[in-house]
Symmetry: C2
Subunit: 361 residues, 2 copies
């Protein structure tokens, strides 16, 4: 192997791969980055068993070949190298890296010991990267943290002909995002939330539609310059449709950002356990209030109301904040009752729907 | 108490005080901020037993008075408040805070329970704030971390008529910074490194000379808008003068930044324990090299040499990096031998001197 690459491009790719390669790996290969020079590109890969990422960057290849080196060290060296370009050269069982006046020789691992890319089934969909990124990153907050049942820690991708949906729920709240005009074969795939985060990160700079392949418990997402293979979650995603109310007693329309900021202020004063914030709707306004260990807070906001007022309802402040975080502009909070689920929708982003269950009084 | 203040100014002052007030305090008062409205200002104070900081900000005072509230919560509320101004009002044993449409009532502590400002002796010096900040922040890195003897974790301020010095050492390296033209009574004061950091932070925006008062084991530093009282360290600071060599066998002159960056690159490859980097000086250049668990690295730099070449010496890379970090432009590394202390000086910053002991081969 003998290749020359632009330092900045190599550094960016190395940084993406370092995110996949754990610093304390259960297998030696998991802490490495695999490099293969071929044609006019350098293929770089890292894997951690759950997630496999392959990137390709343009390279002047003088001699094809492959090797594997410690991912984190390689990334740090490339980031700190002094030259505009980096020369990579195989030398015995080492990688020589040169950039400007700086030269280093890294002990390399046998590339044969690096795991083969996982086999994945046929193409199930083609999705524009920005739609995929927006859908997943908008709903991801509603996935559960560690302490919950595994399936709640995933984001479900539902593919249909000409549409798809991303949905996440932790059993207490739900977020979904529908995209029209892009889809594929009818299939539901549950992606671990952390893998979903990495997919968002790597897909956000893509421009061509992403090809999705699925099979054998894996999802491969392929862009122009990357291929990510995700181990899907097993088990059945909760039947969330039944918790989304269809009839409402009150709808309030407001601007997402000032409303969210008011809830954020009140959360500071709320009870630490319940994070409870009370909303009292009356004609054309809402009064937010809370009370906790250190005192109480109150704020009045102008909103458009439609339906039954006065109306009182309480929420976990954190749930409201997170449900509003991705939104800008006119937003609707629709109540089906004081103790039954509420729905949040956005006028600017009609694909989004969030469900939040009020706190019992 | 009844006062109106600008929100931004209040938020900045609260943030400085929160840094002093520990979140898990050994005494209830330590987690609070004390507020006193008087004349045309709001005086704010926090203390943690080691460090006491009082700030004053302009205020429209309608009614004088004092109270104490949780520092961290107060800071968060002020930062997130929606208005340009904040109204503070005592109400029974609570503080009412209003800003825009947001209103809150915080349980307040009896201001009498807040510790009195410590007594400190007479003025010992007047020092321009920028000179104080530059001197302390430049040498601070050489103070020891937790594991060492207490006195090594301090920065010594040495005051003389018309000059002063800041010096820190952990026993393996030393940094000192001399300032001419400002000083006071001849006295040596050892400031805990963490208190020195806070002093730098609060003094860096001051413009008028700082008044230093000392006595009873304390140092008070007074600016236009702040008064910080620091509990000084007890014990005798090491007699560091004897480790500073006066005669050299070789001097190398180079630009601080590219030299430091080269050492940073090589450190990535150095042995993790020793952090060893080897320097081989020859006429007009130095070759830096290292070798560790993962491989080896090498870089050649052009330097001006004066004295005995070729010459080999090894250092802890981290020590070199930190000694060079505050410097820009032409810098000199002067060697008294391969196993005796070296001195680093700066042409742009002649007050600075660092001493680094080479690693034994």
């Amino acid at each position: 192997m003998r290749a020359n690459v632009e330092r900045k491009t190599l550094a960016e790719a190395a940084a993406s791969l370092e995110r996949i390669a754990p610093t304390r790996a259960s297998q030696p290969a998991y802490s490495q980055v695999y490099l293969r020079a071929e044609d006019d590109r350098l293929v770089m890969r890292a894997t951690n068993g759950e997630l496999d990422l392959e990137l390709a960057i343009p390279a002047e290849v003088e001699e094809t070949g492959a090797l594997a080196v410690p991912a984190n060290l390689f990334g740090q060296l490339v980031r700190s190298a002094p030259g505009e370009r980096v020369a990579l050269r195989e030398s015995g069982s080492a990688l020589e890296l040169e950039s400007g006046a700086f030269a280093t020789k890294l002990t390399a691992a046998d590339p044969e010991s690096f795991p083969e890319p996982p086999e994945v089934g046929g193409e199930v969909a083609r999705i524009p990267p920005q739609a995929m990124v927006r859908a997943i990153s908008t709903v991801r907050y509603a996935a559960a943290h560690e302490e919950y049942r595994a399936i709640f820690r995933g984001v479900q991708l539902e593919l249909y002909p000409q549409r798809f949906r991303a949905v996440a729920t932790d059993g207490f709240r739900l977020a979904l995002y529908d995209v029209e005009g892009a889809g594929g074969e009818e299939v539901k795939l549950v992606v671990p939330a952390r893998s979903a985060d990495e997919l968002v990160r790597v897909a956000k700079d893509a421009s061509e539609p992403l090809a999705l392949r699925a099979g054998s418990g894996k999802l491969a997402v392929e862009g122009e310059r990357f291929r990510m293979v995700i181990s899907l979650m097993e088990g059945t995603f909760p039947d969330y449709q039944r918790v989304i109310p269809g009839e409402f007693v009150l709808a309030a329309r407001f601007e997402a950002e000032p409303f969210r900021q008011a809830v954020e202020r009140l959360r500071l004063l709320a009870d630490r356990q319940t994070q409870r914030v009370d909303l009292v709707f009356s004609e054309g306004k809402v009064t937010l209030g809370t009370e906790g260990e250190y005192g109480q807070g109150r704020e009045e906001l102008v909103v458009e109301t439609e339906g039954e007022v006065p109306f009182e309802v309480s929420y976990n402040a954190q749930y409201l904040i997170e449900a509003l975080k991705a939104l800008r502009g006119a937003t609707r909070l629709k109540l089906s009752g004081a103790a039954t689920p509420s729905v949040i929708t956005s006028e600017e982003d009609p694909g989004y729907r969030a469900v939040v269950v009020p706190l019992r009084v």
